[in-house]
Amino acid sequence: MLRSRIIPCLLIQNKGLVKTVNFKDPKYVGDPINAVKIFNEKEVDELMVLDIDATRENRGPNLEMIKNLADECRMPFCYGGGITTVEQAVKIISLGAEKVALSYSALNNISLCQEIGVIIGNQSVVVVIDVKKKKLFGGYDIYTHNGTKKSNWKLNDLISKLEEIGIGEIVINSIDNDGLMQGYDLPLVEAIREKCSMPITVIGGAGSIQHIKDLISKFKTIGAAAGSLFVFKGKYKAVLISYPNREERKPIY
């Protein structure tokens, strides 16, 4: 039977790992390669690495870093950040990533997803959608550039469009819940699950294994991603990489 995936999400800034709160106040948490080595030992289901500065700094992906990470990864690896061309996406796959994640470049030019999919297969194309609750009337706005620019896309329209062209997965990232460790935005996930049949990975808010359990028990097969949960320990947020082992994971799936 296909299991849900519990996914550490690593944010890269200045070649180091950071963790944010509401997409702000990045705190340095360590070296990416070291983290990958630890996550190898923990046999994590999958790993997501996002370069959060690339788009904002208007630069492409750091291919050398991606190569170093992919060489080390014994688990599936999804890279996102700064990908704007088919060539970059193909290169990243050839370096050993299973999936490439697009955000701004996909929202700006949805056909880029299709152009990349023709070469690397649609199953390896991931779109990350950063959302924030609207202040007054309910619903969500979509943001790009690490939460600094509001997109014109309406969430429902974007989901329908991505479903229509057929991509591998959407990653739905709650800016409101990021780093707070208070649980996922389940109503948001529910609304999206109803709209589409492609795989969903959820990130933003996981603060305990119970939060992950809650998500999986509600949505059955889903990707449960987390940053803080797997890099911090205790209420003072000491940096310590952790992940449930094979036995501890069995009751969660």
Partner: protein
């Protein structure tokens, strides 16, 4: 020596790293003329069917592979699309496959998948090694392997099915014909199970 074929598809280094850590002799091979040096070959694959076949044709690897695998019976392990191209053809593209193992590559029937998400079939799934083959010795079938695909290999003959998995019904997740092997899943991204499978492939005594 295990020859890992590098034709621009991904995951070559991940496989190389595994063999390096196992202290098993390997070489990453890009040129057709070097394929003959290997005792066993690995054909990795991340990508679409036509793009993969086109690269094999353009690089001259296809003809050399046919010569070695069909003529000289060099053992080979195909991974993901590297397995799919062993069939005659695929719903995903127009080009013909290598045709080493009787079968074609079909898209999962979404109407049979009674839950969401539907496609791609992506994540960790269990396997059932129906032949009890040495390739799967020491593998934890319940921990399983990592998959990411929307197309699967439909064997014409049951004897070519090495393992099955379930996703909206049973499908073939590993194939073989004597010295030719393929896995739909990614052993290079499947932790200890994958390492074990690569070790088993290196250890296989085939005649």
């Amino acid at each position: 020596m295990i020859g890992i074929i590098d034709y621009g598809s991904g995951n070559v280094q991940a496989i190389a790293t595994i063999y390096k850590n196992l202290n098993i002799n390997y070489q990453v091979i890009t040129k057709p003329e070097n394929l003959g040096k290997a005792d066993k070959l690995i054909l990795p694959g991340v990508g679409a069917f036509d793009a993969t076949m086109q690269q094999l044709i353009d690089s001259g690897l296809k003809d050399k592979l046919n010569e070695l695998v069909l003529g000289k019976k060099v053992p080979i392990l195909g991974i993901c699309v590297g397995l799919q191209v062993m069939g005659y053809k695929s719903d995903e593209g127009d080009l013909l496959g290598l045709g080493w193992i009787p079968g074609k590559v079909s898209r999962f029937d979404e109407t049979k998948i009674k839950f969401k998400p539907k496609l791609p079939h992506m994540g960790w799934n269990t396997i059932n090694d129906v032949q009890n083959h040495k390739l799967f010795e020491g593998i934890d079938n319940d921990f399983g392997f990592y998959f990411v695909h929307s197309f699967y290999f439909e064997c014409e003959k049951e004897e070519n099915i090495l393992a099955t998995s379930n996703y909206g019904g049973e499908f073939t997740s590993s194939i073989y014909a004597n010295h030719i092997f393929g896995t739909q899943f990614h052993p290079e991204k499947s932790h200890g199970n994958g390492v074990q499978l690569f070790k088993n492939f290196a250890d296989l005594k085939l005649c």
